[in-house]
Amino acid sequence: MFRMIQILAVVASLALGIASAGPVHADEKQDRAIQVTERLLAEAHSALTGNGNGTALRGAISSAFAFDVWERFLIESRSDAFTDDQRSNFRSLLPGFLAHLYQHQFQKGLDTAPTLGDARKVRRDVLVSSTFLRPNGGDLPVDWRVREFPDRGAQVIDVMVGGTSFLVLKREEFAAMIDSGGAEAVLTHMQRNSL
């Protein structure tokens, strides 16, 4: 029932735009989270509205996302299904896959840049809210979950729409693929849906 984000992405026509946010800064951690999100949205919007071949978007994603966390949550429960080579392959495919996912979810409605909202702490992470404009004129709130790492600063570890986590949805999708077709099924899926 709750694969709503996937469905949402299909049915919604979203307008992307560069955020011009004026969020309230609660503390430094939140400030840094906002900065990372703000930069990501700006670079991604620029990449999607420009004429690039996806390299720019992939670059924006690569600089903002904590891929190791994504990797861990996406396939840790099925890690036994992967050989070292497959794991390495997964790792190399992940940035392109996430860039493609971003493009797929948010490439509609690019006339208007997304706007940043406030930031709030949820447990050890910070949720930075943003709003994308839907093709039908409505707002689509999207939250960016940012975690601060001691060695590399703040990075995005999840994207939430309507309270539903991309990580959770993709993890479940991957688990189903692995259970039916093994690790290769996931890798093939990622290759086909990569930017």
């Binding site: 029932m1 949720l127 409505g138 309507g162």
Partner: protein, 858 residues
């Protein structure tokens, strides 16, 4: 009657008893004055006599099992002193809502409530409850929650029936579009159908949000336990009574709508004891009234005079008061067994008075003057009365040295009581008759002879055959050391206790093993769990969740979703939300056959759509959102979860596993239902083989059963040997003692056999039957044997059999009415006592004279 003993036949006992009786009859006022003084003094002393209803004190304190139990109770006092409020429901949310309400109200009543602990609503455990599930379960639940976040947010911000159906329809649409299995919504559909069906049936069922979200069967029966430590009022017979009254009041005052879907019970040692006291006292007035009527009628008929009956009763009451004073001065506090000394004394004490009165009257009927009648009675019954008093006292003293503390107390009091009753009978009755000579009857008074069935060969043979047949069932006789077996099975606290005992998760029958360190406790728990008879073994270490980092990681992952559900604004996830009517129609059309929940909801919606009114909608809305806030509160609390150490656990939980002095306890849960005796033995054997230091309820029960069985066997053997020896020394006739002891043996076998056939095992209450059987069996046997010896072949024409029967009937009438009691122990005491008395009298009358005749002829 040609049975006047010649001077050479008189024994020293005959002469001594006769001398005392004559002296008492000549100095009646002095006797009365002495008796009054003794009664007053004893009555004063008796006011200090207490009763300790703790069945665990039935066994000698020096035994290792008892010492371990004492150490356990000292280290962990709340294990035994807590009241348990049990809330059961087919709806977890309903149960937890009631538990929350009760806890809040209990916390507002500090006068009688020391502490309250309800794990299912404890803030810490609610927040960290997910950590006690497996990592896989946590993963599944958080995934489900994450997917439901927007739905929950939407219902939270607009808790209306319209939003509910719109959200359900949205979920159905999204599920269709995602091409995932429709089964994903099945639980939600099924619970919605359940609520609709209940409302259509005129019942209210709150939507079980927590169960649905946690992936549990929403219809599964849940049991929640609130542990309450009461403040005791030691001045009361039931010290927990005020606290229990507070608890009962709180439960009674709960809103009817709140408690409708739940069943609430109160149990725990304080509640069980308080209700036990009530059940014992409940029918006591009726029993007492009936007993008085029966005893009065039997005495009046047996002694053929109301005046004589009153005199016999006066002798009995004096004996009771003096014996009570003796008990107060010697033991101070009675226990569950020794408190029955009253039964014992009525049964035995009245004997002496009846025999003395019956014999005096017999002599008067035959023309003797009162002085002569008293003298002759002393000479003819002195040996029988003295010997029966001495042997019975000796039989009781045999119990006084066993490890069965309950019975050893009774043995001491019983022995003293018998001697007191004997002394009272041979002094007070002659004194009374001297003051009221008319009570002794007149020469030529009519009497009714008893049938001479003791000399019809068929009757002894039938009795012997019955006795032999009883050996087989008697071999299965057992002692039920579980105090639960004593209690009224219909008492609320007992029913609640039994309901808990049915489930391994909640059974109160748990053993404990104490260790010095947490590591030892953990290792011990693992060793115990390896046993087939142990369901679980829990140490403090087991209460610290495993794989915490991984679970907290999963929580971190789900936290934004949870945050959205409890605090976020909902998002429209479909482009064109439909109005409520459209949503309901749309949902109806989307419900397809194939999954049970979907089919069920379609049928329920069909019925609902055709009969809905604003009133039914309002009621349905209440049902749908009754427990929604409980879910929101629980989810909010979860966001605060963090790493858990043993020290972080709620104090009431920690204190049950680690004592203030640092002693660690392992709680051992049985695999089987221990209500079944062999299962108890298997469990105790398995646990004690792993740890000889094990303690707790089941261990104590088994130790008590073993100790009691051993003690009774030991006491019975000693009693039989000692009384036999004393009888032989006093009478110098082995044949008499054989004629006395053999019927007693047959009566014991018949009683044990009936105990098995009636499925009425011996317990702390009815075990009193055994010493009483020995006492009355020996007494009656001695009276009949000596009378038969002095009047060969004519015993049934004398007053002795009448006295024996009247005495036994008096005991049966006095205590047979106890079988009306709701208290199982008391009722079984009444039944078994009637059985034992019947068996004793039947065997003595049928066999003693017959054996004497047979031995004489051979």
């Amino acid at each position: 009657m040609g049975n006047r003993p010649s001077g050479s036949d008189l024994t020293a006992a005959d002469r001594a008893v006769a001398a005392i009786m004559v002296m008492a009859s000549r100095l009646p006022w002095i006797v009365i004055a002495l008796v009054v003084a003794l009664v007053l003094g004893s009555g004063l002393a008796a006011t200090r006599l207490g009763v300790d209803a703790d069945s665990s004190k039935m066994i000698a304190a020096h035994l290792p099992a008892q010492q371990r139990a004492q150490a356990l109770n000292t280290a962990f006092p709340y294990l035994k002193s807590s009241v348990a409020i049990v809330v059961q429901s087919g709806n977890a949310d309903a149960a937890d809502t009631v538990v929350t309400e009760i806890v809040d109200r209990l916390n507002a009543a500090p006068d009688w409530i020391a502490s309250v602990f309800a794990p299912s609503v404890d803030p810490f455990l609610v927040a960290h409850g997910f950590m006690y599930r497996t990592t896989e379960e946590v993963d599944r639940n958080f995934t489900r929650l994450s997917k439901s976040a927007n739905l929950l947010a939407r219902l939270r911000t607009d808790p209306t029936i319209e939003t509910f159906f719109a959200s359900l329809n949205e979920a159905a649409i999204l599920t269709e579009r995602s091409e995932i299995s429709a089964d994903a919504l099945d639980r939600l559909y099924a619970e919605t159908a359940e609520v609709l069906e209940a409302r259509r049936a005129g019942k209210a069922r709150g939507f079980a949000w927590t169960s649905v979200l946690e992936g549990e069967d929403a219809l599964k029966r849940v049991t929640r336990v609130i542990t309450v430590v009461p403040i005791l009022d030691r001045a009361r017979l039931s010290p927990a009574k005020p606290a229990l009254a507070v608890i009962d009041g709180i439960i009674a005052d709960l809103p009817p709508d709140l408690v409708r879907p739940v069943r609430i019970g109160v149990t725990g040692e304080p509640a069980l004891r308080a209700e036990e006291m009530e059940s014992v006292l409940g029918t006591i007035a009726l029993s007492l009234a009936l007993s008085l009527v029966f005893v009065a009628v039997i005495l009046a008929v047996g002694l053929q005079s109301i005046g004589r009956s009153l005199l016999a009763l006066a002798s009995l009451i004096v004996s009771l008061v003096i014996t009570t004073g003796f008990a107060a001065l010697t033991v101070g506090q009675l226990n569950l067994v020794s408190v029955a000394f009253v039964v014992l004394l009525v049964g035995l004490g009245i004997d002496f008075a009846i025999h003395v009165l019956a014999h005096i009257c017999e002599q008067r009927r035959h023309g003797s003057q009162l002085d002569d009648a008293i003298t002759l009675t002393g000479r003819r019954t002195g040996l029988a009365l003295g010997l029966s008093a001495a042997t019975t006292a000796l039989a009781f003293l045999a119990f006084a040295f066993t490890d069965f503390a309950g019975m050893s107390q009774l043995g001491l009091i019983g022995a003293a009581g018998v001697l007191i009753a004997f002394t009272t009978a041979i002094t007070l009755i002659p004194a009374g008759l001297a003051l009221r000579p008319g009570l002794a009857g007149q020469p030529g008074d009519a009497t009714v002879d008893l049938p001479r069935f003791g000399f019809r060969p068929a009757i002894p043979m039938i009795v012997i055959a019955v006795g032999l047949a009883a050996i087989l069932p008697a071999s299965q006789v057992r002692f039920d050391a579980d105090p639960m077996g004593l209690r009224d099975p219909e008492a609320p606290s007992v029913r609640t206790f039994q309901a808990l005992a049915l489930e391994p998760e909640t059974t109160p029958y748990r053993a404990s093993v104490v260790t010095e360190t947490a590591a030892e406790a953990r290792d011990m728990a693992r060793a115990l769990e390896a046993s087939d008879f142990v369901g679980a073994a829990i140490s403090i270490s087991d209460l610290v969740p495993v794989e915490q980092e991984r679970k907290l990681d999963l929580l971190d992952l789900a936290a934004p979703s949870i945050d959205h559900a409890v605090a976020g604004q909902p998002t429209d996830l479909i482009d064109e939300p439909e109005n409520e009517a459209d949503a309901l129609n749309s949902l109806f059309e989307r419900l397809t056959p194939g999954s049970p929940g979907s089919e069920r909801l379609k049928a329920a919606l069909s019925a609902y759509r055709t009969s809905r009114t604003p009133e039914t909608d309002a009621a349905l809305e209440t049902d749908l959102f009754l427990y929604f806030n409980l879910l929101v509160d629980r989810l909010s609390g979860m966001l605060e979860a963090d790493m858990v150490t043993a020290q972080d656990l709620p104090r009431q939980m920690y204190d049950r596993f680690v004592s203030p002095t640092g002693v660690h306890r392992v709680e051992v849960v049985p695999q089987e239902d221990l209500g079944f005796s062999p299962a108890l033995e298997r469990f105790v054997t398995a646990v004690t083989e792993i740890s000889a230091e094990a303690s707790g309820g089941p261990i104590q029960l088994q130790a008590a059963a073993d100790t009691v069985s051993r003690s009774i066997l030991q006491a019975v053997l000693i009693a039989a040997l000692a009384t036999g020896l004393l009888g032989w020394v006093a009478t110098r006739r082995l044949t008499d003692m054989v004629a006395i002891m053999v019927p007693l043996g047959f009566a014991a076998v018949m009683t044990a056999g009936m105990s098995v056939l009636l499925n009425m095992p011996f317990n702390y209450a009815n075990v009193i039957v055994l010493p009483l059987l020995i006492g009355i069996g020996i007494d009656s046997g001695i009276h009949i044997a000596i009378r038969e010896r002095r009047a060969p072949g004519a015993v049934f024409t004398t007053s002795t059999p009448r006295a024996v029967i009247v005495s036994a009937l008096t005991t049966m009438a006095a205590f047979g009415t106890l079988s009306l009691s709701d208290h199982q122990g008391t009722a079984s005491m009444g039944v078994l006592l009637a059985v034992a008395m019947s068996a004793a009298i039947l065997c003595v009358l049928a066999l003693t004279p017959a054996i004497m005749r047979w031995l004489k002829s051979h």
